[in-house]
Symmetry: D4
Subunit: 217 residues, 8 copies
Amino acid sequence: GYAKIDLHRELRQGIPEVIFGSGKTPEQIIGIASAMQARGGENILITRLCTESAKIVGEQIPLTYDPMSKIGIVGRKSEITASGTIAVATGGTSDMPVAEEAALTAEVLGNKVVRLYDVGVAGLHRLLSKLDVLMDAQVVIAVAGMEGALASVVGGLVDCPVIAVPTSIGYGSNFNGLSALLSMLNSCASGVSVVNIDNGFGAGYLASMINHIGGNR
Amino acid sequence: GYAKIDLHRELRQGIPEVIFGSGKTPEQIIGIASAMQARGGENILITRLCTESAKIVGEQIPLTYDPMSKIGIVGRKSEITASGTIAVATGGTSDMPVAEEAALTAEVLGNKVVRLYDVGVAGLHRLLSKLDVLMDAQVVIAVAGMEGALASVVGGLVDCPVIAVPTSIGYGSNFNGLSALLSMLNSCASGVSVVNIDNGFGAGYLASMINHIGGNR
Amino acid sequence: GYAKIDLHRELRQGIPEVIFGSGKTPEQIIGIASAMQARGGENILITRLCTESAKIVGEQIPLTYDPMSKIGIVGRKSEITASGTIAVATGGTSDMPVAEEAALTAEVLGNKVVRLYDVGVAGLHRLLSKLDVLMDAQVVIAVAGMEGALASVVGGLVDCPVIAVPTSIGYGSNFNGLSALLSMLNSCASGVSVVNIDNGFGAGYLASMINHIGGNR
Amino acid sequence: GYAKIDLHRELRQGIPEVIFGSGKTPEQIIGIASAMQARGGENILITRLCTESAKIVGEQIPLTYDPMSKIGIVGRKSEITASGTIAVATGGTSDMPVAEEAALTAEVLGNKVVRLYDVGVAGLHRLLSKLDVLMDAQVVIAVAGMEGALASVVGGLVDCPVIAVPTSIGYGSNFNGLSALLSMLNSCASGVSVVNIDNGFGAGYLASMINHIGGNR
Amino acid sequence: GYAKIDLHRELRQGIPEVIFGSGKTPEQIIGIASAMQARGGENILITRLCTESAKIVGEQIPLTYDPMSKIGIVGRKSEITASGTIAVATGGTSDMPVAEEAALTAEVLGNKVVRLYDVGVAGLHRLLSKLDVLMDAQVVIAVAGMEGALASVVGGLVDCPVIAVPTSIGYGSNFNGLSALLSMLNSCASGVSVVNIDNGFGAGYLASMINHIGGNR
Amino acid sequence: GYAKIDLHRELRQGIPEVIFGSGKTPEQIIGIASAMQARGGENILITRLCTESAKIVGEQIPLTYDPMSKIGIVGRKSEITASGTIAVATGGTSDMPVAEEAALTAEVLGNKVVRLYDVGVAGLHRLLSKLDVLMDAQVVIAVAGMEGALASVVGGLVDCPVIAVPTSIGYGSNFNGLSALLSMLNSCASGVSVVNIDNGFGAGYLASMINHIGGNR
Amino acid sequence: GYAKIDLHRELRQGIPEVIFGSGKTPEQIIGIASAMQARGGENILITRLCTESAKIVGEQIPLTYDPMSKIGIVGRKSEITASGTIAVATGGTSDMPVAEEAALTAEVLGNKVVRLYDVGVAGLHRLLSKLDVLMDAQVVIAVAGMEGALASVVGGLVDCPVIAVPTSIGYGSNFNGLSALLSMLNSCASGVSVVNIDNGFGAGYLASMINHIGGNR
Amino acid sequence: GYAKIDLHRELRQGIPEVIFGSGKTPEQIIGIASAMQARGGENILITRLCTESAKIVGEQIPLTYDPMSKIGIVGRKSEITASGTIAVATGGTSDMPVAEEAALTAEVLGNKVVRLYDVGVAGLHRLLSKLDVLMDAQVVIAVAGMEGALASVVGGLVDCPVIAVPTSIGYGSNFNGLSALLSMLNSCASGVSVVNIDNGFGAGYLASMINHIGGNR
Ligand SMILES: Nc1ncnc2c1ncn2[C@@H]1O[C@H](COP(=O)(O)O)[C@@H](O)[C@H]1O
Ligand SMILES: Nc1ncnc2c1ncn2[C@@H]1O[C@H](COP(=O)(O)O)[C@@H](O)[C@H]1O
Ligand SMILES: Nc1ncnc2c1ncn2[C@@H]1O[C@H](COP(=O)(O)O)[C@@H](O)[C@H]1O
Ligand SMILES: Nc1ncnc2c1ncn2[C@@H]1O[C@H](COP(=O)(O)O)[C@@H](O)[C@H]1O
Ligand SMILES: [Mg+2]
Ligand SMILES: [Mg+2]
Ligand SMILES: [Mg+2]
Ligand SMILES: [Mg+2]
Ligand SMILES: [Mg+2]
Ligand SMILES: [Mg+2]
Ligand SMILES: [Mg+2]
Ligand SMILES: [Mg+2]
């Protein structure tokens, strides 16, 4: 009648550890990252790290920082471990920061990523001209704001899992991403699931999980 | 310093008069329709008329009734007066009652109407196979529930005005049509405007107005 | 400068075709199913089919009907084609109809499914006593209403993709599933994505896609 | 069974190209505009261009900038191509920036525009004193915040299409334009359709489409 | 340091007592009304009394019942006690039940009431043709659903207090009266205040209070 | 069949004219105020005038400015013209800016005003100790944020009209005044009506209207 | 590094077990209750049990059923085990079903309960006349719909914990209990916490927990 | 027939008085605190006091200030008066400011407090490793943002009252704390009640009330 729960499984070998940088001081981030390194973590991903904090952190720890996605990487390992490809598509250019958060997360986690940016449904020809790339992917991440229609259109074209990421891009009745979120949740295409508004990290992490199910390189 | 407002302009020759049937008893509808006829109205459109009421009304006034759109017509005149064509497209078959409300309204008002039903974006090939019909239209009415992506996709393909009609088809986070409504209001395609959820009549009426600007037959 | 879109790819061999039964008359369903069979479809899934309709449909077409999930199956093939297992967990017993919609969909699509029902977080010991089953799954579907905490707790325990299905079970500030939906979208566990409220079918379909990436039996 | 989609139709002769300036750096805008010019674009509209960006862009490309509407125009052609008139009406003076976005867009697209500002329904005499101007228009754009009643009142007076633009002007239960938006969507006047909150550009673009249906000058 | 609160002021002479009938059984209503009569209440107003309950109550207590407003009156006294007039205006005929709840309440409380029904803003000439009646009122009650613009238009025309009553008449983005409610709360006309959706009783009661401030007959 | 609408009734003798200062530049305000003065306006109320603008305006036009309520007055006339009293009550001290907007508006319009601040319902003894003042008022303005219960409690104590002003004071599930707004709209006390969140001006204007119905000094 | 979780702690001696009856068939309820009895449960509380189910259940298991609260009790033990008193107050008579769910739950759990019904804040004298009873309580449960002001007023009067239960009683902008819920969450009185709309059971259970902290009889 | 209400009970001996610092100037705070001291208050708690204000206040009155919780204390008395313990748990480190507001409030009010920070449900082992501490508490305060699942999990583990504090930590569909708030209100665990988003003070105050019911040290 008793379950044994492993209370010390905090460190899983090989998988990078993640720090959610938003709302943490550079000092707190340095502290957490150092502790992770001390515990043997070779590979740390810091999301939502603003440029100012990145500068301070980088003075103490060797850090690769990407200002568009606001991702910082400590000790990046770049070998690709999964055999499939993750396609990251966006509706517009304004969705790129979120898309890059997803793409970089997936790359750090050992995935090959192809980017299809600014292929929104109001100009369908742009999306259709990349159909072969989409069809080849193991997983697609569809990143879009405003009406979020990209997820449904992509979901109708491909037969693999589509992870929809609504963004807060838009104004007025967009209500900070609500329109894209509801649109994606109500997608009439099968195989589409949704993460939180602007949650590129979550999409990249999940896409990596799914892609690794498909086997290693 | 004074404006002269015409207080008796209630009757405009030629344009059918409209009764919003919802929430009115058959007796009230017969009363209003009879008064309209007495004033010279030759052509009366009754929307949101349920089957039971239609039966009772039809016993007193010669009525053409369409159960899908719930539209009743007294004294329908079928000549087409506008030179252009109105295309009515739907995402799914469940959107057809709203689409028919739009289509019949437009027909009664003297328009040629083509119907493109069940061409939702999750199966893009169905929509693309009708591209020529869409391209030929003077106005397109895009009727869709769930994520309402049809309006954006159509708006990106055609160069004419697109009237988007969100429907209440869906469940869960559809919130009775809210997802399609917000989606359509946030369309990234130019030339798209929106009417109330399930308001097929309003879309048909506006489409007729625009189509008649394009000249008469 | 031109893309060639296959307009006749409607029939994909082996994958069952799906009819969304809600809002269709038995006659419409029989018509659609017959057309699918005529086209060579051997395996048809009808979701949201109420008991009354199922009775009428079953008189015309050989139908296996499950009243809890409201799923009807025409010509079910039961061989398991994927090597992994899908675990379907629910918070309470009231979530079972949605869970069964997911489970049956996955089974029809060729997956081995294990059910863990009524393991909600208010009685954590029930969930923990099934930890081994959860840990063995290739994908977990977490179905919960009210506060929807199950998805986060499961997501924190397992390392595979978790598909969260909010249900409309609850009352008051549940607002027809909104509380569980928001809860799941905001999950602090990685690897969790969300489908529409009560969308068991969508979860089962996506789980099957992911499970088949893991290889065939 | 195949549709041929033109993948290179990006440049349509004569129609100005549009850049949505919001969230783009001056450098990005200069880059996009230069590329458009290189491709033969003679006429570029930049919306939501803040004063600071306009200054920097204007140092590199000859730019006409209007600070109220935040519109920048590269290579404006001023001939009027449509025979009808577009009337732009506002409820208050605070709605003028949105109204000017609509009016300038329409002018750049070759339309004659008349402005009726500050004619809100709380002072009906101001609106009624301009009745003749409204009646002469081919399309009316009704721009209003707060309760958004202008659209219904105008829609009841004129027989042409009314494009309603809710603005975010107001406070409290205005909820950033929601009150005007809902009001306009629920208009009891026929011929009214709605674009997104503060979307003057969209209204001007659609009005131009409709006006050009009415024939050229 | 102590306040003396009168705990027995339940019965105020002359003013009718009110029973909110909704959700009470006929038996409960008979019980409460009888107790009121026993205490000396000569004049009892029962609101939201459905036809079935009214029949049962009327068999035990002499009751005047109005099926449109669902108001029942026990022992109505009809003398008019206030010198001014209350005008009750509605946007459409569907708003009449709420308007009658207001009008009858005001009449039972001793006010002269004039009714201006179906004068909605989409047909402004109907409202303007009654301008003299509106101008003569001491208080106006503006009852409207859908976009609720009537309150602003009336408020802009008259100089007396306007009590706005949003109704739940409408569909789609009306959201059960929310659109009219928000519209009325955001009215740009001065002198307008708002009561709950469909609260004709509250409007009639308040109008009577204000009208009696203006002096007795 | 024609109504004659007075198009030049903009200037009503004796009643102050009002400028809504929010979103207007000092220059615009000076321009409008000067035009009003040129037309004979002796008495101008400027609401929502920030301290910086007030300083600039005051250098050009003789202005009395109150920084708490953000009201500026040009040419204030202080005689009291109505015989009754308006009581302005607030729940807390944070509601005072809105209350002062109401109180000053009423004073400028010729009313005697008594202030009862910080008498919120969580300390009922404070409210009850002022019961006599409340009971003597012709109209009460109840200003409260957070749960907005003050309006109901006051409405249950007095027999005169209560104008409820929800404020945006609060945090979290206050949602910028929504909680107080809904609370006040649902008041179970009779005689309560509601204006927009933070709309002290509207409450003061309406209270003055009602108070003047009660006769002049 | 391991935690030992007791997986069989389902039965806690003395405390009644609870079945949430809503959405369960009589057969399911009989099954669960019988299993509980077989395990030694002497005391079972069934909430949200409709009259029809109660009849069927009562034919198989000895059941005490209260139709107002919809509570069924199997094997009620009535000794009072806590020394303090729980006061249950309601704003109106319509709140009584929820209040009785709370009161009966508390009684079954061994508490002395006093009821103060229909003491809503619109008639403050009714509440104040029971001040002594409120002051004597160890915990107060405040049950109210509409504006939910009761919780704040009670919270301001007493010094003990107040459990606020919003009810769905009301109409229009009540939005099924949202107004009372937000009101109670924003209470300016200290010591107030809130449970779900209409959750009388939860309030009664929590009140019993707190009351028992105060010591046994 | 009269109730005697004590109008001077403002000062209760021993219990600290509380000033809500948010929105008050340092001068106002000094004024209120001095008045309290003059009346004999020995112990004053100032919440939501920003660092800048704290500096100014501290120059005039001896003040202990905690920058994380933004609490200032004048004349802190540190004896523990209640015999039980209050456990304060948080989901993440970002919830700590709210948790400290609760913890410090409880400490000032004479309670022993244990802190369990960053034990969120996505890493269940962290929570389970502290089970003994939780089990020993008289009251638990569960502070969490994002999906707020902590309250349900804790509520299912302990048998004492759980006060749930949703925080505004999160982004996107968190909607400033709405997701955690709804989650906590819908908790399927018994004994859980909820205070306003970020209301650490309210939780600490209520926990102290309940803890003192359990007897003094
Ligand atoms: N951008 C992001 N959005 C949502 N979750 C994130 C994000 N970045 C990191 N996380 C999650 O936050 C956890 C770390 O949070 P923390 O302990 O606050 O640093 C990681 O394990 C991730 O699951
Ligand atoms: N103010 C605006 N609001 C909405 N859409 C706009 C606006 N301005 C431009 N657009 C649209 O945005 C498109 C260009 O977007 P982008 O490629 O991001 O510059 C144009 O084709 C227009 O359809
Ligand atoms: N239709 C209505 N809407 C809102 N409040 C009402 C209505 N009818 C009556 N009331 C109020 O409800 C009170 C009586 O409620 P009750 O004691 O439940 O019968 C009256 O004093 C009125 O203030
Ligand atoms: N009216 C109610 N509202 C909320 N929760 C309840 C209610 N009645 C019972 N419960 C909870 O529901 C649990 C039993 O649920 P179930 O296993 O579905 O019967 C009990 O342990 C209670 O915590
Ligand atoms: Mg697909
Ligand atoms: Mg287009
Ligand atoms: Mg996980
Ligand atoms: Mg019109
Ligand atoms: Mg007026
Ligand atoms: Mg009163
Ligand atoms: Mg208290
Ligand atoms: Mg518990």
